[in-house]
């Protein structure tokens, strides 16, 4: 039973030039306790989707259609039809969001303790002592010293410590879903590693489901169970983490996998994706990846292809040429894309 079911979600931004179709017909399920990674270039719609899920989009954004169904077994509702008060409660109690650990994620003039207290009060935790006990427990859980951190102001903490505090704060109301937007970007390698290990540990202990948005494929490789590739506002591939990394079937996923060099193993034939993403106001006819795609044929111009079942029932790709992609990558199942194409 999925905790979140998104159906045909479409989000536009109003601009002077006309509507930008930032998210188009997005459909996916998030199962209890699973980790889903959304990957894509900047402008692919992944952040619009993430903030759209908790309706935090800027004013210029408009949901043109779709449904976001939340169901934790006790309560079920469509997030899009919540009134402002119920939406406010949904936002932290059921579904929390962790942003990049920038200073701007905090109120700079109050201590960490006051930030926790504010959050708790806004969600009806009236008993200060209860909030305090829970906060100390959570800070312990993210391996911070509560006595030291609670008294500190945000600027007094390092980037890694701030990210841990943000994660602890997201857990304050025991949400079933946590959305992470670039959780380790701008952190140093050893700190990044510590945060990844922490997220894995917390997920195991607390069992929440995670959606994370990252342009960094290595974080997805570390943590994801399943993955979605987004391109020009649409989901173009849906697969398990191993299928997407070793057996991608959409040429765009292949391109992304091939664009990232590794430190271990063979370098392979690393290459960038030529061209740039399409104008989301005037989308091209047919498949929006056509102009950049090495596999394209004339037929690709006839329609924007729907998600097609490939290889296994859990694997879908929006590409009529997926068999040609499979043939080009060959049958060596476990090798990374850059090596197969070398």
């Amino acid at each position: 039973m999925p905790v979140l079911s998104v159906r045909d979600l479409s989000i536009d931004y109003r601009t002077r030039r006309g509507p930008v179709h930032a998210v188009r017909d997005v459909t996916f399920d998030l199962e209890q306790g699973e980790t889903l990674a959304v990957i894509g270039e900047s402008g692919s719609g992944k952040t619009t989707l993430a903030v759209g899920l908790i309706r935090l989009s800027p004013r210029s954004a408009r949901v043109t259609k779709g449904e976001i169904r939340y169901d934790d077994g006790k309560r079920a509702f469509d997030v899009l039809s919540l009134d402002p008060e119920r939406l406010r409660r949904f936002r932290w109690a059921d579904c929390a969001m962790v942003f990049q650990a920038a200073l701007s994620a905090f109120n700079p003039v109050i201590t960490i303790w006051e930030q926790f207290l504010d959050t708790g009060r806004a969600h009806g935790m009236g008993d200060k002592h209860k909030v305090h006990d829970r906060t100390r427990e959570l800070l312990d859980l993210v391996h911070l010293d509560p006595t030291r951190v609670l008294r500190a102001y945000p600027h007094e903490l390092s980037g890694g410590m701030r990210q841990r505090v943000l994660i602890a704060m997201a857990l304050l109301l025991d949400p079933r879903i946590i959305i992470l937007d670039e959780p380790t970007t701008a952190l140093d390698i050893l700190t990044q590693r510590a945060i990844i290990d922490l997220l894995r540990e917390l997920r195991g202990k607390l069992g929440f489901a995670t959606i994370f948005i990252s342009h960094d494929l290595s974080i997805a490789a570390e943590l994801a169970d399943r993955m979605l590739t987004m391109y020009a506002g649409r989901i173009v591939e849906r697969a398990t983490v191993d299928d997407l990394f070793y057996r991608p079937r959409h040429p765009y996923s292949v391109g992304l996998m091939r664009a990232v060099p590794r430190v271990s193993g063979a370098l392979g034939s690393v290459a960038s994706i030529p061209g740039s993403p399409p104008d989301l106001i005037r989308l091209p006819r047919g498949c929006s990846y056509y102009p950049r795609c090495p596999f394209h044929v004339d037929e690709c111009l006839q329609q924007d292809p729907p998600l097609l079942k490939v290889d296994t029932p859990e694997h879908e790709a929006a590409c009529i040429r997926w068999e040609a992609v499979a043939a080009a990558l060959g049958s060596d199942a476990e090798a990374p894309v850059a090596e197969k194409l070398a």
Binding site: S42, L190, Q192, L217
Partner: protein, 336 residues
């Protein structure tokens, strides 16, 4: 080619802050030949940007010398100094901040061509077109009249590189030049910089926090790993990533998440003793890495500062234990 083209000769740089004096770079020596590629990698605060700025002659070392073709740059004057300024160019990290938003690409590229008497008028236009072609902005004529805001991050970074090329530099220092552009196009920018080294014999220094980027870019060159102001390891790129010699490089490589689920989930970790990087204001005595190092030996590592020494295979490492055992730390730690 006889002798190095550009050289840092045991340079240090200190800064005075209200909280005390910090040594951002401590006794770094690097020597680069013509058309060589080198990457300087390290985490924030390791001194890699300060080192790059000293190499580009933008920052005067507190001690030590910057040598260009064997002569001390900070002793140079007049025409001689201007020649050095032309020869070494910097490409900045942020292509959104490094281009003047009120100037078209032509207005950005023409002044340096004129100032350094490379080309005027109609010849300038031809020179700009050939520069834009060289950095892969085609058709070039379309770009001349565009403003930076009309370009993508990657295209802007190509303009930055074209601007650096206006004066036919012999050295390019690129500080995190690809970290702000999209993953999907980083490789093509790195290829562009790499071609400058191979085809036009430009010495290229790439400063990056991303070892995967360093590995790809520096695959035919060397990597210097910095930690808290010092170079702890200097080696050719492939031996560094496949068999790191310094415990810090080893820990770093072991910790890097990689875009490959099997590799990244089965990596052997190096258990460090402490997670926090010491403050530059209060550096530990002896080896600056000793408080976190699993190989640290009391009485040696916490007392004596290790200097960069040679290991077999043409690599240098600043680690007492690795040098004494004549073995890379990766083997001593059982990571390989």
């Amino acid at each position: 080619m006889s002798g190095p083209l550009i050289e840092l000769d045991s340079v240090s740089r200190t800064y005075t802050t209200p909280a005390g004096t910090i040594k951002a770079v401590d006794d770094v020596s690097l020597s680069l030949g013509e058309s060589e590629t080198i990457c300087i990698v390290g985490e924030s605060g390791c001194g890699k940007t300060t080192t790059g700025r000293m190499l580009a002659g933008l920052l005067r070392p507190s001690s030590g010398r910057l040598l260009f073709e064997g002569a001390d740059v900070w002793e140079k004057k007049g025409k001689d100094l201007a020649r050095f300024r032309r020869a070494v160019q910097l490409v900045h990290q942020d292509p959104y901040a490094s281009l003047n938003p009120t100037r078209t690409i032509a207005q950005t590229l023409a002044p340096p061509l004129a100032k350094h008497k490379k080309a005027h008028g109609r010849a300038a236009r031809a020179a700009m077109i050939s520069l834009l072609e060289r950095v892969g902005l085609t058709p070039p004529a379309d770009f001349l009249l565009k403003y930076p805001h009309q370009l993508s991050g990657g295209q802007r970074q190509r303009v930055s590189i074209a601007r650096a090329l206006t004066v036919d530099p012999r050295v390019i220092v690129a500080d995190e030049a690809v970290s702000m552009v999209d993953v999907s196009i980083r490789i093509s920018l790195l290829d562009l910089l790499h071609n400058l080294a191979t085809e036009f014999h430009v010495t290229t220094v790439l400063i990056t926090h991303d070892l995967a980027v360093a590995r790809y870019f520096g695959r035919k060159g060397r990597v210097a790993v910095m930690y808290l102001g010092r170079v702890v390891e200097l080696a050719d790129t492939e031996s560094l990533v496949s068999d790191p010699a310094h415990p810090y490089s080893t820990a770093l490589i072991a910790a890097i998440p990689e875009a490959d689920p099997t590799i990244t989930r089965t990596k052997k970790r190096v258990p460090l003793k402490g997670a926090e990087v010491p403050s530059l204001l209060n550096l530990p005595p002896g080896c600056v890495f000793h408080p976190r190092c699993p190989l640290s030996e009391p009485g040696l590592c916490d007392v004596v500062v290790p200097i960069l020494g040679n290991l077999p295979g043409g690599r240098s490492v600043a680690c007492h234990v690795a040098l004494r055992e004549r073995q890379p730390a990766a083997e001593l730690l059982g990571v390989r």
